[in-house]
Structure formats: structure tokens, C-alpha cells
């Protein structure tokens, strides 16, 4: 029982990490119609900036905002210099230009920080593990990730549902041309939004820094899974991204945790392990295929 609960928590934790990435990607796509492959690079920039500041100052409290700021600034620059010119282009140009950005950011990071992965310390107050409800012992840092992820989800909901910016976001997602026609300063709105999306990716990078490996190419590792989340949830929908992220996190974790055991009932140990590994690797993609068969627009599409 406690094992099942622990695995469920693991699923949620993976889910909210994916949500942070998917939310930014889907937001940018939903409003601006830009598909940004370099979203993973922003995630990497957040993690690197955080690791560098933490190593330089020894303070997590400084490193945390530094990571967010670096990703945000990189995002705004990216929008201002490149992405801005891509709004009117088709997806193909967007994919390729941002693919070029990936090559650039990865190599630039190599030049600046070297090829070695960076070290990131977990802050002392988040180290160790606690008992939850007297059944499960769970690492504090992972609980913190869940908390930050859920808080961000709520914050985003409030931002979109309650603020003027959110109103423009909703309006923009429904009819981009109309918002522009009504005289809203679309340029500024887009730059701000791109910065927000970049900061969300940076936040994911900052949170992941201490538990993953901060290295060149870390962005592309999560990018594909983020795409799966966005497609399952419905492109352009933040609510969909949340649902999709939790579904992917849960399915992925549960398959890895329980499939080998189930298959071991049916066949010899090593064969079962190998087959289970193969099946669980494809599980998320299967989920995507099924969702698309039933609902081609995703679980919670943005437009109607």
C-alpha cells in the first residue's frame, strides 16, 4: 500500500515537472502560433544559470531567481531578435529557425561552461525525507517540486482567468486577428508572454537542476516528452497541458513500477524485465496514439 502511494506521488511529481515545460510551450503556441523547439534550451539555460550562481555564491536563494531571470531574459531576447520575425511564417520556418537556435545554444553553453556536467547542491532546508501520514517516507525536495508545480498551476489559472493579461491571452487564443484589430499592443503582449513562457521553462530547469544532470543537451531530452504532453492535452490549452502532464507522469511511472512484476507472473524473469522495459518505454506514445484516435484535438482543446 505504501509502495503504491509512493509511486503515485512519483507520478504526480513527474507530471508537474512536465507541466511547467508544457505550459510555457503551449501558451506560446496558443497565443502566438509559434512552435518553439528551443523551449528545451530555455530549460537548460535556467538550470545552468542556477548552477553557476549557486556555485559562485553558495546561496540557493540567490540561485533560484537567477535561474528564472536568465531564462526569462534569454526568452525575451529570443523573441525580440528571432521569433518576432516568425509570427507570420508557417510552422516549417519556425521549426527550422528554432532548430538552429538549439544548435547555437548547446554549443554556446559548451564554450562557456565546458563539456562537463555541473554540480548542484540541494539546499539544506530541502534535504532529507519526511514521513507522510505515517505510511510513506518521501524526499522533501520532491515534495517541494510538487508544491511549486501545483502553485504555478494555480497561479497560471488565476493569471488567465482573473487578470487583464489573462483576458488578452484568452482573447488571443480564440481569435488572434481580432485582438490585434482592437488595437492591443500585440508586440509588447507577445514579448511579455514569451518571457513568461521562458520563465516557466526556466523554473522547470531550476527545479530539475539538483536531481538531474545539468549538462548540454538536457533540454532536448525532455522536449519530446513535452510535445507528447501538449498533444495529449490539446495544443494551446494550459488546462490541457496540466491534464496531459499528469496523465503522462502517472502512466509512465506506473508502467515502470508495476509492469515488470505483472509480466513476471506470465514469463521468466529476465524476459519479463526486458519486455516490460520495452513496453513501458512505448507506453506514453501508445497513450498519445489512443487519445488521438478518440479525440484528435486532445483531451482539453483550447478552441471549443
Amino acid at each position: 500500500m505504501s509502495l503504491l502511494m509512493e509511486q503515485a506521488l512519483n507520478g504526480v511529481q513527474l507530471g508537474v515537472t512536465l507541466f511547467l515545460l508544457a505550459a510555457g510551450l503551449t501558451l506560446i503556441f496558443g497565443i502566438m502560433g509559434v512552435i518553439n523547439l528551443a523551449h528545451g534550451s530555455l530549460y537548460m539555460i535556467g538550470a545552468y544559470a542556477m548552477a553557476a550562481v549557486a556555485a559562485g555564491t553558495g546561496s540557493f536563494l540567490l540561485a533560484f531567481p537567477a535561474g528564472l531571470a536568465a531564462a526569462g531574459i534569454a526568452g525575451v531576447l529570443m523573441e525580440y531578435l528571432v521569433v518576432r520575425r516568425l509570427y507570420a511564417r508557417d510552422h516549417l520556418d519556425q521549426v527550422l529557425a528554432t532548430f538552429g537556435l538549439i544548435l547555437f545554444f548547446n554549443q554556446l553553453t559548451t564554450i562557456l561552461f565546458g563539456r562537463q556536467p555541473l554540480f548542484v547542491q540541494i539546499p539544506d532546508f530541502l534535504n532529507g525525507s519526511v514521513m507522510i501520514g505515517g505510511i510513506v517516507r518521501y524526499p522533501v525536495y520532491r515534495l517541494a517540486i510538487i508544491a511549486v508545480g501545483l502553485a504555478t498551476a494555480i497561479g497560471l489559472y488565476l493569471l488567465i482567468a482573473r487578470t487583464r493579461l489573462g483576458m488578452l491571452i484568452r482573447a488571443g487564443a480564440t481569435n488572434r486577428e481580432m485582438v490585434r484589430a482592437l488595437g492591443v499592443d500585440i508586440r509588447l503582449l507577445y514579448t511579455v508572454l514569451f518571457g513568461v513562457g521562458a520563465m516557466l521553462a526556466g523554473l522547470a530547469g531550476v527545479m530539475a537542476g539538483p536531481i538531474l544532470s545539468v549538462q548540454v543537451g538536457m533540454g532536448e531530452q525532455v522536449l519530446i516528452l513535452t510535445f507528447v504532453v501538449v498533444v495529449i492535452g490539446g495544443v494551446g490549452s494550459v488546462r490541457g497541458a496540466f491534464i496531459g502532464a499528469l496523465a503522462v507522469g502517472m502512466v509512465d511511472t506506473m508502467l515502470r513500477a508495476y509492469l515488470p512484476g505483472l509480466l513476471r507472473q506470465l514469463m521468466a524473469g529476465p524476459d519479463a524485465d526486458a519486455l516490460a522495459a520495452g513496453l513501458s518505454a512505448m507506453g506514453v506514445y501508445m497513450l498519445m496514439a489512443i487519445v488521438l484516435l478518440v479525440k484528435p484535438q486532445g483531451l482539453a482543446p483550447a478552441h471549443g
Binding site: 509511486q7 554549443q107 563539456r115 562537463q116 554540480f119 544532470s213 549538462q215 515502470r256 524485465d273
Partner: protein, 389 residues
């Protein structure tokens, strides 16, 4: 344009009296991985190889040499292309440098079929170690399986009875588990295959905790290993279940990235920077002086490769035209390896000692990898018996 990567040996040769004055430097081709996450491996191999050339004043074994280096970006196709260009356009016969087994698998047969000689500073895949071994193919590093065999022996020596093993679900991962099991005398209570694109190992940690093994053996290359180790420590498992790994899972670069989460982990390796022999001491000191960083064991292999080639060049008078003569000279392995004892087995893969190491905090509070003792002595590999040269 390749000047940047090469040692201007020609200039040095100018000052040497006698026939060397007119002698063109011997070109050696290095196809290695410099970009991407695995880039630091190739970087260390290249730098150490260059160091060996520099220490001899632009020569290896008395022959002026020029090292041409190109990045294969971990793409087998690109590596083949570079090797072909080296051999055809630059007329290079002697090649080295490949880091990853899949790149070697694609490139080495081409080099050998075209009459070249290949000396591996890192990858030693099993398919070239047994029946498919070749008289012009040398591995200075290790045969891949032996890394994990030594880890299995290490776990046995440390007295563990129940092991849980984890590796990514791909060829090298499966080989690592097979190698470990070959030398681990206890019981394997669980095998878990992870994914190459996996970043979160929480589900696996919970399974390990539930299975309560005596020891965990895991093989996760590069960034995967860093993530695994961190999450292992954060889950509080480091204190409960000790870990045994092979050298690639915890080199000095990875150790820096993991930090305290690696404290107490057992490693088995063929070289460590604290080795107490003259060759190793000189290498570590000179490497630090030149590059201002600690050499990894990859660097030691690059250095040993250069020394092995130097010894052979000395015997052939700096010539590689006659591949048979060069190979015969290589086979003698007449050089002072930084590992101490070293010779080639019947399949021209190393026969050497394996040591157990441990991550400990030194007197200065810095983490370091400390040599504890021998695990296997004069250990060859499993495939040597199938090789007929």
C-alpha cells in the same frame, strides 16, 4: 586549418640533426567525440595524447608526428567519413581516438579493410574481441565487459550476497549486467531496465527500497548516471544500500557533478590518479601542469595509447608502411603503462590488473576517489579464447 589541433612537429624536427631533417612528420589520425554530453571523454583522450607527444618534443618513439583530430559528434556515419578522408586524402595509416562502441562498430571494419591500423583508446566492443579480432586492431583501454566483470568481482570480494542490478535497456546496458553477473557469486534479486531518455528514477528507487538488497550495481553512462546517483542519495538509499559501480559510472568529472551523493560508493577501475608508480605520477603532474585540471581515466588511456604507439614506432624506426612489422612491435607492449603492469592478450586487448576504489572525503574535506586494493590480477577477457590471429 588543422593547425589548431596539430603539433607543429615539422618545426621541431628542423632542429634535429641527421636524416630527421628531411623527414616528413608521420601523420596520425584521431577520430573522436568532442561535441555533446560525451565530449569531455574525447577531449581528455586528445589532450593526454597531445601531452605525450609534447613531452617527447613533438615526437613519438623518436619519430616526428603530427596528430590530426576531428570531431565525430557521436555519429557513426560522420566518423566513417572522417576516417575515409584521413586514409585516402591524407594518406594516414595509423588511426585512433574513437570513444563510443557504436561509432567504433561502424568505423573500425572500414579502417582495417583498407589496410589501416587502429589503436583504441577507449571503446572495446565484444564483436571485435572474439572471432572477429584482427591483427591490425589493438585496444589499449579495456574490453567493455571487463569493466563490469571487475565490478561483479568487487561486490563478491566485499561480501555482498544479494544484489539488485539496473541498467538502461540497450546493448551496452545489457552487456554490463551480463558482465556483472559473470563474476558476482551471490544472488541477483532483481534486474531493472531503465530507459536511455529517462530523467526521473523515483519509481526505480521505490522498487529498490522494497526489494531490500545487500548491494546495488548500476550502469548509467554520463548524465543518466549523475541523475541516478543524486536521486539515489536523495531517496535516502545511500545510507541503507551500498552501491558498486564500474569506472564509467563514476569518473572524476562525474564525481564533481554529483558531490556528496557519491560518498562511499565502491568503484572498480584499472587506473586511478593516486596510483603510486613513476609513469602515472609523471603523467598526473604534467597533465595538471599543462591543462590545469585532474585527468580522468580516459586521459590515462589516451596517454597509454600514445606510449604504446611510441614504443612500436621506436622499434620500426618511425615507419608504419609495413603493417605487419608495426603490429608485431605493438604486440610487445614495450612501454611503461600508467597502470603499472600491462600486456596484450591473444586478441590484442589488454591483460591488466583491476583495483577497487572508493569515494571518500580527504583530510581537506574534498571528495576524492581513493584506491583500496586489487580486485583481479592480470585479467584478460572472456572473448580472447575465440580469437585466432
Amino acid at each position: 586549418m588543422k593547425l589548431k589541433n596539430s603539433i607543429s612537429a615539422a618545426a621541431l624536427a628542423f632542429f634535429v640533426a641527421g636524416p630527421a631533417l628531411a623527414q616528413q612528420p608521420l601523420k596520425i589520425g584521431m577520430v573522436t567525440t568532442l561535441s555533446g554530453p560525451g565530449g569531455y571523454l574525447g577531449q581528455d583522450v586528445r589532450d593526454a595524447f597531445n601531452l605525450a607527444i609534447e613531452l617527447e618534443g613533438g615526437k613519438l618513439g623518436g619519430a616526428p608526428v603530427q596528430l590530426l583530430v576531428e570531431d565525430d559528434a557521436l555519429k557513426p556515419g560522420q566518423a566513417k567519413e572522417i576516417a575515409e578522408r584521413f586514409m585516402k586524402t591524407e594518406r594516414i595509416k595509423l588511426l585512433t581516438g574513437i570513444i563510443f562502441s557504436n561509432v567504433a562498430g561502424a568505423t573500425v571494419p572500414d579502417i582495417l579493410d583498407n589496410g589501416g591500423i587502429y589503436v583504441s583508446p577507449n571503446a572495446g566492443p565484444s564483436n571485435f574481441a572474439g572471432k572477429e579480432c584482427h591483427k591490425n586492431y589493438f585496444v589499449v583501454s579495456w574490453q567493455n565487459d571487463t569493466l563490469h566483470e571487475s565490478a561483479g568481482q568487487n561486490a563478491t570480494n566485499l561480501g555482498y550476497k544479494k544484489a539488485m542490478v539496473l541498467a538502461p535497456n540497450y546493448q551496452a546496458g545489457k552487456d554490463s549486467i551480463a558482465g556483472f553477473k559473470r563474476f558476482f557469486k551471490g544472488e541477483v534479486v532483481g534486474e531493472i531496465y531503465t530507459r536511455l531518455d529517462q530523467t526521473d528514477f523515483a519509481a526505480e528507487m521505490a522498487q529498490i527500497r522494497a526489494a531490500k538488497p545487500d548491494v546495488v550495481f548500476q550502469f548509467h553512462p554520463g548524465g543518466l548516471g549523475i541523475a541516478f546517483m543524486r536521486q539515489y542519495a536523495q531517496a535516502g538509499l545511500l545510507a541503507e544500500v551500498p552501491m558498486v559501480v564500474a569506472a564509467p559510472s563514476l569518473d572524476s568529472v562525474i564525481l564533481k557533478a554529483i558531490g556528496d551523493a557519491a560518498l562511499g560508493v565502491n568503484i572498480s577501475s584499472h587506473w586511478n590518479s593516486d596510483f603510486d608508480n613513476a609513469s602515472s605520477k609523471k603523467f598526473v603532474a604534467e597533465f595538471q601542469k599543462k591543462y590545469n585540471r585532474m585527468p580522468t581515466y580516459y586521459a590515462s588511456q589516451g596517454y597509454d595509447t600514445a606510449l604504446a604507439i611510441a614504443a612500436a614506432l621506436k622499434a620500426t624506426g618511425g615507419k608504419v608502411d609495413n603493417a605487419d612489422a608495426f603490429s608485431a612491435a605493438m604486440r610487445k607492449a614495450d612501454f611503461q603503462s600508467v597502470r603499472g603492469s600491462f600486456k596484450f592478450g591473444p586478441n590484442q586487448h589488454p591483460v591488466h590488473d583491476w583495483y577497487s576504489l572508493k569515494v571518500e572525503k580527504g583530510a581537506d574535506g574534498q571528495l576524492g576517489i581513493v584506491t583500496k586494493g586489487k580486485v583481479l590480477e592480470a585479467h584478460g577477457d572472456f572473448y580472447a579464447k575465440d580469437c585466432k590471429i
